[in-house]
Symmetry: C2
Subunit: 343 residues, 2 copies
């Protein structure tokens, strides 16, 4: 069977040569374990932290030669665990490989036991997107910390991504006016398709003028997935007591603690203090909460959420697609998935 | 009578030559107005925003020749308003002058009518400190947004200042371990005097080692009055789900939106996201709330709050003392006040 291993630590943004597709012996399920066949693999930008040369606090750390870490939906094909019989579908972090033998209940202290996926509820790939961690994060950002109210203005960076596209639609359901920021005309057109009121292209030469026109009275909530130049441009539009859920900061994932000058901390602190800005970061364990996910499932059943999936075919194309998410080089909209095998 | 006017806009930190002490005709109380004699003047670093060349949103903007803006405790010496008879003591924003004629109820939309000061409760100067805006801000930061719990570790920058020294003592009352950061041995000694567990000197060559030793398990709450290099050094010690009330950012008051590189935004966004940090800025209107002030008054009566006042004698020395607060050049601890006249 095939798997993708870390070849070398990336310096800055990851590049395809940091990864290698290799053959590996077929794994066997040990006592209490299950053998799963990977159907869908999530390409999650947060993996960048696990492949940094420097070990980061609270993050799984990989070494060259290790299989890449990643969420999957898989089918159980052999089982030594009564709760997970053959044929059942599971979501978990089994990595970038065609098959894996795993302990379904003891392996992951952060997320708990592997979650069973009900194929009657929605397409099973949604367990990695709208009905998985990105959907949960979008719900927690917009409904939870963002406290989006009818009539408010919500701005979303990385709006075409898995979290951003959901957060925008949730904000629309809540009655807000929603401005999405994405790179390129195709992504911006899709944002309007799925119900955003305005789409602003951060790659356009008149980005700042577009942004200013889109926010004549400023924003109440800024759901940030990106940081960097986009956030520096958005922050001055904060209204008094605005809220800023930070679901990601992909512009800086490869940067470390300091980037090239000028220093934007003075302006950030000035706006935090003078506008009484409220900020909260979201990483995995914070967003856990079944209530939000249940509401998302209901909205999916009612057809209120237009979730999009960008599908890459085959494990051999995973690394290149993953790398493109860091450079804005992809034109994909929605949750980025690899179809590793047909169900 | 004497008053202090803005002579020129400061570039960066304010300097004494930006101010001028001038003679002015004695004001007269018009219909509905009162004539007050200034007893105490607060030197509030936030005035920096009102004397910036650039007009800032939501801030009173002064021009050269205008009297400096500032909170005072005054005595009514002539009155055309029945609610404010001669002899009563009032707190309001009457500015850097020996006498002022003001409308006691209509002049200040942000803070409401002038507040009467009860000399039986505590020394009247406390209406500008522990029982005024700084005390309210400290209470809102520690009790409100900071949600300080017994057994937690609280770090405070600008700990010898009016807000910081109160926030530290409130955190002690709440049962926390409190680490104060201040500049110089004298200020650090005073922090220990008023009950801080540890005092860290940011001017010492081993500042980072002191900080690391003071925070072996990181911090739960960071009450920031300073920003700049101090905050860059403190942030990596954030525990998961730490809270960061931002009561001020004096290191950047004269800087504008950008400072010299490197850019510290990448590290700040990384910590916000990966530690699920919660941040909230506090400016004036947010902290209004009589409940906090009532609790502060009770703690003062019970002797639980050791409030310190740093008194500058005479309006002619106000500008120099104000300027020193921006450069760390003063060795004063507590609320910085000018005694303009004896009561």
């Amino acid at each position: 069977m095939k798997q993708v291993v870390l070849q070398s630590f990336p310096q800055g943004n990851p590049a395809p040569e940091n990864f290698a597709l290799v053959d590996a012996p077929m794994p066997q399920a040990g006592p209490g374990e299950i053998l799963v066949k990977t159907l869908w693999l999530s390409l999650d930008p947060l993996i960048r932290f696990s492949i940094d040369e420097k070990r980061l606090t609270g993050v799984v750390h990989l070494q060259p030669g290790d299989v890449l870490y990643g969420g999957t939906v898989s089918e159980v094909i052999a089982s030594n665990h009564a709760d997970y019989p053959g044929g059942c579908l599971v979501e978990g972090r089994t990595g970038w490989r065609e098959y894996a033998a795993v302990d379904p209940v003891g392996g992951d202290r952060v997320r708990g036991p592997m979650r069973k996926v009900d194929p009657a509820l929605a397409p099973i790939s949604t367990a990695l997107g709208v009905l998985g961690m990105p959907g949960q994060t979008a719900h927690a950002a917009a409904v939870g910390m963002g406290r989006v109210q009818a009539g408010e203005t919500v701005v979303i960076s990385g709006a075409a991504g898995a979290v951003g596209s959901m957060a925008g639609q949730i904000s629309k359901i809540l009655g807000a006016r929603v401005v999405g920021i994405a790179g390129g005309a195709a992504k911006c057109a899709t944002l309007l398709d799925i119900g955003f009121d305005v789409a602003v292209d951060y790659k356009a030469p008149d980005f700042k003028a577009q942004l200013s026109a889109a926010l004549p009275e400023g924003f109440d909530v800024y759901i940030d997935n990106v940081s960097g130049d986009v956030t520096v441009a958005v922050l001055p539009f904060a209204k008094f007591r605005a809220r800023m859920p930070v679901a990601g900061f992909i512009a800086h994932y490869g940067v470390g603690m300091e980037g090239p000058g000028p220093d934007h901390m003075p302006g950030f602190m000035r706006i935090i203090n003078s506008r009484s800005l409220e900020i909260r970061g979201f990483s995995g364990p914070v967003v856990a909460g079944e209530a939000g996910l249940a509401e998302m499932a209901q909205w999916v059943r009612e057809g209120k959420l237009d979730y999009r999936e960008a599908v890459v075919e085959g494990l051999e194309n995973a690394a290149a697609a993953f790398c493109e998410t860091f450079t804005g080089g992809n034109s994909r909209v929605g949750k980025l998935l690899v179809r590793v095998a047909a169900a």
